[in-house]
C-alpha cells in the first residue's frame, strides 16, 4: 500500500529547494506560486513576474492590505520588498528571452520522457492559452515542472509522447510531483526521490516511460 500523496505546498517546498542564493526565479500560476513561501532566510532569491516585477516579496493574503497596483502573474497581490524593480512588459520578456531567468517553475498537463512540455491546452478544452509560459520554457536556464503525478482518472502525466499539443520541446529539466522527483537526462528519466511511504516500483507503476532509479534514491524531505 503506497503512502499518501503530498499536498501542493509540499510539492512547492521540494521545488524551492533547487533555488540557490542570488538566483532569479519565475514562478508560474498554481502550485509554483507557493514556492515563494519556502525560501530559507540565509538565501536571497529574486522573483520575476511576467507583468514586470523583479524582486517582489510575499503574497498578501488579506484583501484589505492588498494593492491592485502590485500583483503577480496570477493576479495575486504581493508585497513590495527593498531592491524591487518595476519594468514594462517588453522589458520583462527581454529578461526572459535574454536568458536572465535562472529557474522557471511551471505547471503542466503532460511531460514527455524527452522533456517536452504540454501545458497550453487544458484537457477537454478547445481553446488554449500560452501566457508567458512558452517564452519561459524556451529561454529559462533551468525548467522545473510541478504537477500531480497522474490526472483525475489516475492516468500518468509523465508520458512517452505528449498527446496534448506541446508548448516547448525538450525543455524540462526536473519534474516535482506529489509522489516523486524525476530528472530529465540524456540517458532518460532518473527517479531521484520518492514521497514518504512510496517505493520506486509504485512510482513506476504510475509513470508511462521507464524510470532509471538513481543509486542515491532518497525520500522527498518535507522539512
Amino acid at each position: 500500500m503506497a503512502g499518501a500523496r503530498l499536498d501542493e505546498r509540499s510539492i512547492a517546498l521540494c521545488a524551492a529547494r533547487e533555488f540557490q542564493d542570488g538566483m532569479l526565479v519565475n514562478l508560474g500560476i498554481g502550485i509554483p506560486t507557493a514556492c515563494v513561501t519556502f525560501i530559507p532566510p540565509d538565501k536571497e532569491v529574486l522573483f520575476h513576474s511576467e507583468n514586470g516585477l523583479v524582486g517582489f516579496g510575499q503574497i498578501i493574503e488579506d484583501p484589505q492590505l492588498a494593492d491592485a497596483n502590485l500583483i503577480n502573474a496570477g493576479a495575486q497581490p504581493v508585497s513590495p520588498k527593498p531592491g524591487m524593480v518595476i519594468v514594462d512588459h517588453a522589458e520583462s520578456f527581454a529578461i526572459v528571452r535574454g536568458g536572465h531567468i535562472d529557474i522557471s517553475v511551471l505547471g503542466a498537463f503532460q511531460v514527455s520522457e524527452k522533456g517536452d512540455l504540454a501545458n497550453n491546452v487544458m484537457p477537454g478544452k478547445q481553446v488554449g492559452s500560452l501566457g508567458g509560459g512558452q517564452d519561459l520554457a524556451f529561454c529559462a536556464k533551468k525548467l522545473i515542472v510541478t504537477m500531480t503525478h497522474t490526472d483525475k482518472e489516475n492516468r500518468p502525466k509523465i508520458v512517452k509522447q505528449c498527446s496534448s499539443r506541446i508548448t516547448a520541446p525538450e525543455c524540462v529539466d526536473l519534474i516535482v510531483t506529489d509522489i516523486a522527483v524525476v530528472e530529465v537526462t540524456d540517458r532518460g528519466l532518473v527517479l531521484r526521490e520518492v514521497a514518504p511511504g512510496w517505493t520506486a516500483e509504485e512510482v513506476q507503476a504510475l509513470t508511462e516511460p521507464r524510470l532509471i532509479v538513481s543509486p542515491e534514491l532518497k525520500e522527498m524531505g518535507l522539512m
Partner: protein, 253 residues
C-alpha cells in the same frame, strides 16, 4: 500650444473606425485596465475590430462571479470593465491574445465565440506580443525569437539558425489605436505609472497611429520629475481623466 487633454471618453475614442486594429492594455487585474476607454468603445458599437491584448477578458457575464471568487484576494471595483465587454457585444472579429482561455472548466465569452466560429483567435505568447509591439513602436519590421520553434506557433513562419540556435521570424504588431491606462499625465502626454500597472500600458504607448491614455490625474507641466516619466508624451496623442466616482459603462461620458 501642446495640449493632449480631451474632456470626455467618447471624444477620446472618436475616429476609431470599423475594422480597426487596436492594442488594448490590460493584464488581468483591475488597476492596469483602461476600463473607461473600453466602455466608450462599447458605446460606439463599432464592429469588426481586431484586438491585441493579453487576455480576452471576462465581460459582464462573469464579472459578478469573478468579483465574488476574487474577493478573498483582490477587490475588483464596480467600474472594472474589460475587453470581454466588446467580445460580448460582438464588436470583435479577431483576437491576437496570449491568454484567451480561462483557467478551469468555465469558458470566457471569447472562448465561446471562438468555439462557435464567430471570432478568430491568433494565439501568441506574451513575449512575442510584447516584443512585436515594442518593435512597432521602434520602427523594426520583424525580429527573430527562439520562442515557439518546433511548436504549432511556428507553422508557416521562417526559421533561421544563428550561432547554432533556431529562431522564428515574427513581425511587428502595429495598431491603429492603443488604449492604455496610466497614473499621472501632463498636457504634453508624459505619463507615469504605478507598480505592476505599468505592464502592457507602457509597452503599447507609441505602437499605434494614435495612443489614447486613461489616467487617474492630470498635473501641471513641470510637475512630473523627468527621471520618473516612463512614457514620453511624444508617444501619446490623447489623455482623458478617470471620474472620481464609478460610472456605469453604458452612460455617455
Amino acid at each position: 500650444m501642446i495640449n493632449k487633454i480631451v474632456n470626455t471618453f467618447d471624444e477620446a475614442v472618436s475616429g476609431i473606425k470599423e475594422g480597426a486594429k487596436l492594442l488594448i492594455a490590460s493584464f488581468g487585474g483591475p488597476a492596469e485596465c483602461p476600463s473607461y476607454l473600453i466602455a466608450a468603445l462599447a458605446r460606439t458599437g463599432i464592429k469588426n475590430l481586431t484586438v491585441v491584448s493579453n487576455s480576452g477578458g471576462w465581460g459582464t457575464e462573469f464579472m459578478e462571479a469573478i468579483r465574488t471568487r476574487m474577493s478573498s484576494v483582490l477587490t475588483f471595483p464596480p467600474d472594472f470593465y474589460d475587453l470581454g465587454l466588446l467580445v460580448e457585444r460582438g464588436q470583435l472579429t479577431k483576437g491576437i491574445l496570449a491568454v484567451p482561455a480561462a483557467i478551469g472548466r468555465i469558458h470566457t465569452p471569447f472562448e465561446k465565440k471562438v468555439m462557435n466560429g464567430e471570432v478568430e483567435l491568433e494565439l501568441v505568447g506574451q513575449g512575442t506580443i510584447a516584443e512585436g509591439i515594442r518593435a512597432a513602436r521602434a520602427g523594426i519590421a520583424a525580429f527573430y525569437t527562439p520562442t515557439g520553434v518546433g511548436t504549432f506557433v511556428a507553422e508557416g513562419k521562417e526559421v533561421r539558425e544563428f550561432d547554432g540556435r533556431k529562431y522564428l521570424l515574427e513581425h511587428a504588431i502595429k495598431g491603429d489605436a492603443s488604449l492604455i491606462r496610466a497614473h499621472k499625465a501632463d498636457r504634453y502626454g508624459n505619463l507615469t505609472y504605478r507598480g505592476s500597472a505599468r505592464t502592457f500600458n507602457a509597452t503599447m504607448a507609441g505602437a499605434s497611429t494614435v495612443t489614447i491614455a486613461e489616467v487617474d490625474e492630470v498635473v501641471e507641466l513641470g510637475e512630473l520629475d523627468p527621471e520618473q516619466i516612463v512614457t514620453p508624451g511624444i508617444y501619446v496623442q490623447r489623455v482623458v481623466v478617470r471620474p472620481r466616482e464609478p460610472r456605469p459603462w453604458d452612460k455617455p461620458m
